[in-house]
Amino acid sequence: MRSSPYSVMPARALRALVVLALTAGVTAAVPSARAETTTPPAAPAPVAAKPYMGWTSWTMQSSKYPGLNPKGDYSYLSEANVLKQTDAMAAKLKKYGYEYVNIDAGWWMDWSWKSQYDQYGRQKADPVRFPSGMKAVADRIHAKGLKAGIYLPVGLEKGAYGDGKTPIWNAEGCTTGDIVHADLRTTNGWDSAYKIDFSNPCAQKYIDSQAQMFADWGYDFLKLDGVGPGSFKTGDNYDNVPDVAAWQKAIDTAGRPIHLELSWSLDYGHVADWKKYSNGWRIDTDVECYCNTLVTWENSVDDRWDDAPAWTDHAGPGGWNDLDSLNVGNGEMDGLTKAERQSYATLWAIAKSPLFTGDDITKLDSYGLSLLTNREVIGINQSSAPPAEPVTASDPQQVWAAKNPDGTYTVALFNLADAPASVTANWQALGFKGKASVRDVWNKENLGNRTDKITQALPAHGSRLFTVTPRGTTLAWTAHEAEAGTLSGNASVADCSACSDGRKVGNLYTGGKVTVDDVVVAEAGTYMIKVSYVSGDARSILVSANGGGGTSHKFASTGDWGTVNSVYVPVKLKAGANTVTFDSGTGYAPDIDRIDVPKSL
């Protein structure tokens, strides 16, 4: 568990609160804020106070599952299908908190994927796909007590440019030619748009015109797609931070709260921007497989276990780490085993990802319905507790946990291996020892007290979700700085402002080692040692005690080489003084900041 307190209210959320306060004319207390601003007034139900819940059209659009897209690729998206899903969501899922019905790419394209624009270069609903128009659809969604979402790619779509003479709505003298660069450099994940030049004031006007159109239609949510850095793009042409900022500004003045969600594989290095200007960001590529099912485990549900941990600290009210759609409700069409479906739902819930399904809600099977509507699981996702993160190394068997405000822990066991395996959650990794009562959340069963740990057999790709209530005693820890240890091979001490004592041991590669001496414990046994480390990508390291054989553990990426994270690894120690060695072996290992060792078992 990370020790930093979870009471962060990101700036963008506060800004949203201000907007609401002004428009609604109400005030409320603001939770204590870390800081960039101290603006006091607030309002209830700000945008993205909790991870949003809903449905997206894209998952079925992307699939080759027989019958889903009879009119060509992505043709699932139609007014009839959206309204059918709206009705089903209202009937089956709304009471559990699902509220957004999100129309994804293609609403302005015909069946052959040809785009249409209005006279101001704004996307225009395809009259065959959406015969009633986008406003009417939003009205129908609202009539069911739900919220409506819409979609755009970032940039000025090439088809909207015209010859550069297309006028911008409500912007005297501005044309599309004014808002792009003279060389018509392209942007976004598909290079399907011209990069907008925000040094020209007309550019903001164009964004304002789109935002106003959505607000007028009544949309509550916008997915801005292909955003860089991210969307598999880097470099100046793909820096869409100004676009995102412009969108937030436009939304602020459009007169309707609109949730702004960014896609896809957003660059971790710009997380501050995403937090500042949006309400959620996709941390990975599409979860869909673009195959004969909606998803498959390997392509690419399972990536999220590796990629989510680095982002954990950045999620909170106002903006969340988006793991993409949750497709666990349809059974065979999902493309997953039962165990995989549960693990998928478990990770999304505990990581506080938005919970939006891409399933056919009219055809949920009973198991899928139970996964999507488990109130305890939804409660974990929607609670004020922080997102869970791995407390063990990112090995095939791993444990994730979050400390809840009431002192309990949300603990998930995962077996990512292709065969059944047992997984153990050791209470030491939660900071205590002795007894704890355990509730099996999915199975809705109290398992009673467990001493020191719980072990469960998990199917291949399986999971367990527990609420653990400590009844034992808090552990006392001894800290050891890695840089005080004995270095060998290439290992060297490096400065690190985020590290304790400002230093860490780096250059642990091809034989580089650091041995921490004088690790004194009261009694022999297996200790969960908390390892604070820095690693810009996922790396493995051999951990051993007293010169014995090392066990290789994979440490998840901390996102960059300036961020410290920590995990617990089991090490067998003897009573008295021990040495603990971190050995890169033949590869490249993470930098080690320090270790904390329980004083006794």
Binding site: K338, A339, A419
Partner: protein, 786 residues
């Protein structure tokens, strides 16, 4: 199945004529009288329980399934709460046939239809959808080595469910028992199917015929309490059952008789299977279990072993974690190591009784196409499988190997006569003479051979059979194997070449062009392996003829040949015992096979006790050292046995520890289910059972060395086991059994019991004494200080 009447062949005429010989032709799968039902026996202490916290993956049962077997039928079980899967085998379920041709290069064909392959017989699933693993808690799975039971248990909605399974030899069935406490119910379905494209027609049995004419069949019967069990098309449904018992059996019409083409034409396996499951299902489940446990323990209980005490922390770990800890931590885990030995015994009891002997994978398969056909390899593997039987008190399990060789002999004779001197055979006798019998590197159960001819294979099979006689003193066994020994001698009498040793006038007998198993040149004369093993064979034969009072003249002939056999020397170039009658190293230094050391182990010619020239011991030691400490499981086991013979406890023990390493991604080592994994190529490991038998044999050899007339206590006791321990009921060559206790590295008590032997020396270190006992009598020795 071809049912056309055929004209009586020479074969059938011979069978009818030779009614006395027909005794050997009884099918393996046969009707039997109701077994005796023993009373309740208290369960033994649970020191030798293996346990796990996860079920087996259906796609990886060879590494994760738990084996059961009654010596004839076996199964690997997943123990998954929601879906129990059993992959069922019968030792005789083989494709292929006599395979009496040679390819152009002189090899026997080695395909699944000509040579044949061991293959699965049936697959059984018991689906209980509500008990999906994702919805149960506290899952645990155990293999109770002391009782021969596989169990699994879990809690679902407050109810504890327990599942137990075993393969009973007395009832000749596999029994699955599903129970619960706390008001639970079992609802689901049972499906029994074949794995060879059979069309299911009934739920409770099926029968079919392989392309080679082997008939096979299987049957299942289920019985529940408190609910309903109904046959529904091709599956059996059960609903609301408090308890459920499922009884399965399977078999073939294989008969171990060359004259009948290895078939019993009258046997209908499906019908017999149905009869057997009906009879067993009529018994109470308690009676079935009691009968099985008593039968199993009668064998298992013959040897008791303690290598010391493990720590409380080690005991807390499940078996898979414990293997990891043993590989990671420097501390020995004596109870785990002893359990590994006992697991080998479990496999032997389950795998080798009343049917064919244990092949490369024993009785256990996870598919129809095992590597190397799951066959009998005659250049170490089958011999290693049976080194353990006598050494660990399982002499009755040895009989399957003996019976196999006896039943195959007529075909082996026939093929040798017809094909050994074939001009395509690179190892043919240049003398032009041909007699007796030989085998190839691979053999099947139909008298057939595969791959290259293996001239010295006959001698190695014989010396292995002979060793069983040395342990048991059984004249019945000696009579059975005598024709094999004699035929092998006749083969070598015809084959050996007389040469003059260079630089001398001394004439010696050497092996013709040959291949030191799988290593080096394929045209080397006088390879060490053959010289040594033929020397052993000739010696054994002379003793056998004398004991049985037969063939005195021929024994004299063989004795004189033996005196003329060239015996290998140490290379002046490498300092190693030569492998190819050449001073040069013509192969790979760290090659897996130790063929030139065959007279260090299993033979006794090379002894580190002063009776063997020191340079020979040094040469053998140097060769063994060069071979290294890292190889495949069976190769490590053989190395360990050799180091034990050289009284190097550290090396012998380290090789055992190396074999206990957890296998990861197919690497050499021990799998989740304790099967030994052989890394065929990077990332692909297969199960090969020889190390599961060879490693325990090495562990015993570290505690007790014996040869007729001589027993040594604790010849290579490693520090890891030195503190205290015992081995009770360990057989010694020469016809004795020993109960041995030790403390602080020294024996504290040794009880020697004669099982037919008369006189032997008992040695510990420099101390030696001679005891003479009547059969059945025993003596206890306590003072080893002088």
């Amino acid at each position: 199945m071809d049912t056309r009447p055929s004209e009586p062949s020479r074969r059938t005429v011979l069978t009818t004529a030779g009614l006395t010989a027909a005794l050997a032709a009884l099918p393996v799968f046969k009707a039997s009288a109701a077994p005796a039902r023993p009373g309740e026996v208290p369960p033994p202490a649970d020191r030798h329980q293996l346990w796990w916290q996860a079920p087996g993956d259906e796609g990886s049962l060879i590494e994760q399934g738990l084996p059961i077997g009654n010596g004839r039928i076996g199964a690997l079980a997943s123990n998954d709460p929601g879906r129990e899967l059993l992959l069922i085998t019968d030792a005789t379920m083989w494709t292929g046939g006599l395979n009496d041709t040679l390819d152009q290069d002189g090899q026997f064909p080695y395909g699944r239809s000509d040579f044949g392959s061991f293959t699965l017989l049936a697959k059984l699933t018991v689906d209980i959808p509500d008990h999906d693993l994702g919805g149960v808690n506290g899952y645990r799975r155990t293999l109770d080595l002391a009782q021969g039971l596989v169990t699994s248990s879990y809690v679902r909605s407050g109810v504890t469910y327990r599942r137990e399974m075993y393969a009973s030899r007395p009832d000749d069935v596999i029994v699955l028992r599903f129970t619960q406490s706390g008001g639970g119910r079992h609802t689901g379905s049972i499906t029994l199917t074949g794995t060879h494209g059979e069309h299911p027609t009934a739920a409770e049995s099926f029968g079919a015929t392989l392309p080679n004419g082997l008939r096979y069949g299987a049957a299942v019967k289920a019985r529940g309490t408190g609910g309903k069990v109904t046959v529904n098309g091709t599956r059996i449904d059960f609903a609301g059952c408090k308890d459920l018992t499922v009884v399965i059996t399977a078999g073939t019409n294989y008969a171990p008789d060359a004259d009948s083409g290895f078939r019993d034409p009258a046997l209908e396996p499906e019908r017999l299977a149905r009869t057997k499951v009906r009879a067993a299902a009529a018994e109470s489940t308690d009676a079935l279990r009691r009968t099985h446990v008593a039968d199993y323990r009668a064998l298992y209980g013959r040897l008791d072993l303690s290598l010391g005490t493990s720590t409380a922390e080690q005991r807390e770990l499940d078996t898979w974690e414990r293997l990891h800890a043993r590989s990671r931590d420097p501390e020995p885990d004596p109870e785990l190591e002893a359990a590994y030995l006992q697991f080998g015994r479990y496999l032997m009891i389950c795998g080798s009784r009343d049917s064919l002997p244990v092949a490369l994978q024993g009785l256990w398969l996870d598919g129809n196409d095992p590597d190397w056909m799951g066959d009998y390899h005659t250049d170490i593997n089958i011999q290693m499988n049976y080194w353990m039987a006598d050494r660990t008190g399982l002499s009755p399990c040895f009989d399957a190997f003996t019976d196999y060789c006896v039943a195959q002999l007529p075909s082996w004779n026939d093929l040798t006569r017809r094909l050994f001197n074939d001009p395509r055979n690179r190892y043919r006798n240049s003398s032009g003479k041909n007699a007796g019998w030989a085998v190839a590197f691979s053999t099947n159960p139909y008298g057939g051979s595969g791959w290259w001819w293996h001239p010295a294979g006959n001698a190695w099979l014989c010396t292995t059979l002979w060793e069983h006689y040395e342990y048991t003193g059984s004249r019945e066994h000696l009579k059975k194997i005598y024709p094999l020994l004699k035929g092998a001698c006749e083969f070598w009498e015809a084959r050996l070449l007389t040469i003059t040793l260079p630089g001398t006038s001394k004439e010696v007998l050497v092996d013709d062009k040959d291949w030191s198993p799988e290593h080096g040149p394929q045209d080397a004369k006088g390879i060490t392996y053959a010289q040594e093993v033929v020397w052993m064979l000739f010696g054994n034969y002379c003793t056998a003829a004398a004991e049985l009072g037969r063939d005195t003249d021929y024994a004299d002939t063989i004795a004189s040949l033996r005196r003329k056999l060239y015996l290998p020397q140490v290379s002046p170039t490498t300092g190693w015992l030569e492998e190819w009658m050449s001073p040069d190293n013509l192969g790979e230094t760290t090659h897996r096979h130790l063929s030139p050391l065959i007279n260090l182990f299993p033979g006794d010619r090379i002894r580190p006790d002063g009776s063997t020239p020191a340079d020979l011991v040094a040469g053998a030691t140097a060769l063994l050292t060069a071979r290294g400490m890292e190889s495949f499981g069976w190769a490590n086991a053989w190395r360990s046995l050799c180091w034990a013979r050289l009284k190097n406890a550290d090396n012998a023990y380290q090789l055992v520890v190396n074999n206990l390493r957890p296998s990861v991604d197919g690497s050499n080592g021990t799998a989740f289910n304790l099967f030994d994994i052989y890394e065929v190529e990077r990332g692909r490991g297969i199960f090969q059972i020889d190390a599961n038998f060879g490693t325990p044999a090495a562990m015993v050899e570290m505690l007790l060395y014996s040869r007729p007339g001589h027993i040594e206590l604790l010849p290579a006791l490693p520090d890891a086991w030195a503190a205290s321990g015992h081995i009770r009921g360990v057989p010694a060559r020469g016809g004795f059994e020993v109960d041995l206790r030790w403390r602080d590295g020294k024996p504290t008590e040794a009880r020697i019991r004669s099982v037919g032997g008369r006189t032997t020396t008992i040695a510990y270190g420099e101390v030696s004494r001679t005891v003479t006992l009547r059969p059945g009598a025993s003596v206890t020795l306590k003072d080893f200080s002088r």
